[in-house]
């Protein structure tokens, strides 16, 4: 099919393939009008629709049926119709709803950014900075869980989890057998391995990369350093298990951590194996390509980056 659908978001028009979601259409346009997404992850099938941060208003359904949609729609799970018109930043209703969602995500969040390893690359931190209010109206005890180690490489800090289900999809789609899942329901739901099993699988480390917050962190990197003091560098190696294309995070001459390559929306498109992630932490293990090319910076790192390492704008 060569036919394309026309869509207008906040007054900016573009044409997309049928089947494209509103969110991906917005990403094709780029810039501020792209709705934030906490649970959608383009390379994980079935993800999205849960966090509700990406809600937008469909003010015109399509050329054929111009009626507006009655409710705000999750842009990550709503496909574009020809002639659709969408409001994101231009709709006060959307802004208000998003503020609400951010508040909901934060009421049970420990707000422990100062001691959280994810700080500086946390999607929730960025989101609340951009859309949140200054003070909380929540005056009750926050939900708390014990920290648990799932395996020797990953620590789960459930208090920080936003239940985006991404890590569950990773385990479902990347590993042979999923041994963790969502247990319980409502606000008592938690990520857990049934009987505290260790997650031990060649691709389990990707759960860390997809986690938008500091709920799943790399124990081999824990407290070693702040992300914004480390320098991301792209590198690759010949790997028989995965693509071998990674980001190395340097402090001086030391590789402190290895992750998948994230795009400007914090998404990894090529997942890496645990050997690359945990066992190859010397420069000589890798062929260095150069500074990581990511356009978008988190609220914290934006101020700290050495301008030499944030040069290229990569529009794939």
């Amino acid at each position: 099919m060569s036919e394309k659908y026309k869509i207008t978001i906040d007054g900016v028009s573009t044409e997309v393939e049928p089947g494209t979601t509103i969110l991906n259409a917005a990403r094709q346009i780029g810039g501020d009008l792209v709705p934030p997404a906490m649970c959608y992850y383009s390379s994980l099938e079935g993800s999205g629709g849960k966090c509700r941060t990406c809600l937008v208003k469909v003010s015109k359904g399509s050329e054929k049926d111009p009626r507006p949609m009655p409710k705000l729609m999750a842009s990550c799970r709503t496909t574009v119709m020809d002639g659709m018109e969408v409001q994101n930043l231009t709709s006060p209703e959307v802004q208000e709803a998003r503020k609400g969602v951010v508040e909901f995500l934060l009421i049970n969040h420990p707000l422990d950014c100062p001691v959280c390893d994810q700080a500086g690359e946390c999607k929730l931190q960025d989101l609340s900075y951009e859309h949140g209010t200054e003070a909380t109206r929540y005056e009750f005890n926050r939900r708390t869980f014990e920290r648990i180690d799932i395996g020797d490489k990953i620590q789960l800090h459930m208090n920080r989890c936003i239940l985006c289900y991404r890590c569950v999809y990773v385990a479902n789609q990347l590993t042979d057998q999923r041994v963790h899942g969502i247990v319980g329901r409502g606000d008592m739901a938690e990520i857990s391995t049934y009987v505290e099993k260790a997650i031990d699988n060649d691709f389990s480390g990707n759960m860390i990369d997809v986690c938008p917050v500091g709920a799943l962190t790399d124990k081999t990197f824990r407290f070693k350093n702040r992300v914004w003091f480390t320098k991301p560098v792209w590198a690759h190696r010949d790997c028989d298990k995965c693509c071998g294309r990674v980001t190395l995070w340097y402090k001086g001459d030391d590789v402190l951590r290895v992750t998948g390559r994230k795009d400007e929306y914090g998404e990894v498109h090529e997942f890496i194996c645990n050997t690359c992630r945990y066992d190859k932490k010397r420069t000589k293990d890798w062929v260095i390509e150069g500074p990581a090319k990511v356009e978008r910076q988190s609220v914290i790192s934006a101020n700290h980056y050495d301008s030499k390492v944030v040069p290229v704008i990569d529009k794939r």
Binding site: K50, C51, E96, V101, E103, I162, L163, G186, D187
Partner: protein, 436 residues
């Protein structure tokens, strides 16, 4: 079985399978104007006609017998007292939809109902109404009873389908709708017990006959489970269009408010629908008397109206505490939220805590507006309607009974000792009506 047969039971099966085509059955159901009895009131014929029919893909009919809405207990009784009416309805509906496998998803706690249904199914099978080549018509149907896990959320049709497939009962993100991709990814119709049971009557007597019962676009009869402070709680089959006042006060139905007290408020369609004060449930804003029908109860929108919902009619007298009742409902939704989407997962718990605080005399004036705001931010922003169902009772309680919330905050001591009583703005009409 014998009794049911003697009273003309399974005649609809014979009529449909032997003399009608599936499309003719569908046509009768469309003509009848039957609307879903599960809560949303969506026209059943229309819903059936949306069912996708790709070649070579099986289709399914699922009966939603998960009934767990607080205040609603009609389907259980229907299944216990007259299981064959449901099974007969399942057969003709499945025939109309071209489904060869159908499920009845029963709430897990109802073991005895499951046993009754299974017995009735085996009786029907013995008589040749189920299985291969039913009554020599060439139509096959297998009917299964599937016990659920006893979670309210599994009554939501897509969560029900997930649960039926053996997964965690999380509602799916729509679209795709079940009519296109339901059980095992195949086109599926989900209908309430009462809806399905009504179809056999429609087949037997014709859609036009059914449409004569009721009022306007609310055709037919409806089971109402009445409870609360009334003289005669129970399940009543009413013709749609019955005045609410008659339903509450006539001896044929609820028999008036228990203990000669006065009516304070009514939740007309199960815990999810907005609560209305006495004056607004009896008469609309325009001063017309309110009827038990989809349209009349909804008159005035959410400002002054409510919904027929699933027919759980909860009556509260002058001694009922609206704050406590709202807290109780919210506690239910908090407990039953599946936790997938942020507004419902976090918002229901937050509302419950604030309501608890107000009810127990630790509330603040600002809490009331906070509740309104939180409810508004849940409403419409969630994956499934449970979010709305949790928000509506809170929004409506504060809209109509704000005084009572404020009184709880102002008089923390007093509110622990006694209830607020009738609100000053509640119409005194109920008393006069009772005497008349």
């Amino acid at each position: 079985m014998e009794v049911y047969r003697k009273q003309g039971g399974y005649a609809a099966v014979e009529k449909a399978l032997k003399t009608m085509t599936p499309d003719e059955v569908l046509e009768e159901v469309k003509k009848s104007g039957l609307r879903g009895r599960g809560g949303a009131g969506f026209p059943t014929g229309l819903k059936w006609s949306f069912l996708a029919k790709p070649e070579g893909v099986p289709r399914y009919l699922v009966c939603n017998a998960d009934e767990s809405e607080p205040g609603t207990f009609k389907d259980r009784d229907l299944m216990v007292r007259n299981p064959h009416s449901l099974i007969e309805g399942m057969i003709v509906s499945s025939f109309a939809l071209g489904a060869n496998t159908s499920y009845i998803y029963v709430r897990g706690e109802l073991f005895y109902v499951i046993r009754i249904l299974e017995k009735a199914i085996s009786e029907a099978r013995e008589k040749g109404f189920l299985g291969k080549n039913i009554l020599g018509s060439g139509y096959d149907l297998e009917l299964y009873v599937q016990p659920g896990g006893g979670a309210y959320i599994c009554g939501e049709e897509t969560a029900l389908i997930e649960s039926l497939e053996g997964k965690r009962g999380n509602p799916r993100i729509k679209p795709p709708f079940p009519a296109v991709s339901g059980v095992w990814g195949c086109p599926t119709v989900v209908n309430n017990v009462e809806t399905i049971a009504a179809t056999s009557w429609i087949v037997q007597h014709g859609g036009d006959e059914y449409a004569k019962i009721g009022i306007g676009r609310s055709t037919g009869t409806k089971l109402i489970s009445a409870c609360g402070n009334i003289n005669k709680p129970g399940i009543y089959e009413i013709e749609l269009g019955l005045p609410v006042e008659e339903f509450i006060y006539s001896d044929e139905y609820c028999g008036g408010i228990a203990g000669g007290k006065r009516l304070k408020a009514v939740v007309a369609g199960g815990s999810s629908v907005p609560v209305l004060p006495a004056n607004l449930i009896l008469k609309t804003m325009a001063g017309e008397s309110r009827l038990m029908s989809y349209e009349s109860l909804a008159e005035g929108g959410f400002v002054s109206g409510t919904m027929l919902g699933s027919g759980g009619f909860i009556v509260m007298d002058e001694d009922a505490c609206i704050v406590r009742n709202t807290w109780n409902f919210t506690r239910f939704y908090h407990h039953e939220s599946c936790g997938q989407c942020s507004p419902c997962r976090e918002g229901t718990g937050w509302m419950e805590k604030v309501l608890h605080r107000i009810e127990y005399g630790h509330g603040k004036m600002s809490d009331i507006d906070l509740l309104v705001d939180v409810a508004a931010k849940i409403e419409g922003n969630t994956i499934c309607p449970l979010g709305d169902a949790a928000a509506w009772p809170v929004g409506s309680a504060i809209r109509h009974f704000r005084d009572e919330f404020e009184w709880h905050v102002r008089e923390p001591r007093l509110s622990q000792e006694r209830n607020y009583g009738l609100a000053g703005y509640a119409d005194p009409l109920p008393v006069q009506a009772a005497e008349a």
